[in-house]
Symmetry: C2
Subunit: 159 residues, 2 copies
Amino acid sequence: MAGENKARSNREIERKFLVKWLPDDLKRRRHWIIEQGYLATESAGRQVRLRKTGKATSLTFKVGRGSHREEREVTLSPKQFAALWPGTAGRRLRKVRYEIPCEGLLIEVDIYGGRHKGLVVAEVEFPNNASCGRFEPPSWFGREVTGEKRYSNVRLALN
Amino acid sequence: MAGENKARSNREIERKFLVKWLPDDLKRRRHWIIEQGYLATESAGRQVRLRKTGKATSLTFKVGRGSHREEREVTLSPKQFAALWPGTAGRRLRKVRYEIPCEGLLIEVDIYGGRHKGLVVAEVEFPNNASCGRFEPPSWFGREVTGEKRYSNVRLALN
């Protein structure tokens, strides 16, 4: 799999919410431990992120803020990842991500660990603007925090 | 070569100079066209750079300023490079690099193209601090510009 390329170069449309309570069946959902760290970040949401999801390792470039972002991601070989990961020291976070299918969409619930223990955030990605606009949050969603810097992963990793 | 890792994770010791005149035999030296662009840059010299040297493609993470920098570099497959390169739009530069061996050291002469046409810079990398301190610049070297932001590749690419 070394150097295999994940062809994903697109604009993301997503919304982010705090979570009032966790769904009862959460533990039965597919979930992974995610570790991620940032090599470099700029204003305007420009960032280069390394991520390890289970054994899968990747590098992601993002630019833009809020519900619309440009994102470019490539799979890294374990050696590539190991060579770059030390550059993220002091800029990392760890979370468990649960996937919950919901009315044709996918809700990703992130339960943060370490110094952000207690923080739970739900993200939903949409195929287009119309779908994004008409989304009705389920009852267990709390306040919408789309685009709030305080809840961005970059900010959480740097703080 | 996909995903092959170039094991290079170290501290660089280097000095940079302007060039008063080009050595007569320059055209006979080994040289390459280098295209590079920056995915993200921060203060304190933190940056993620993509580079194409001939057909070789790489991603380099750097942090630190002046003559001492931490650098981590991995070779990218052509597909990985192609997926990430568009993220450097508007933050690129192009130069021809000549390699000139000199008293056990290697001088790299960069002749910039595009909007920086006319700029020529020489860089020397040293194996240790002692070698760095006792270096006597050849007569064709001009003013030393080590650590001057104005001549950093990041600044040149962004301006």
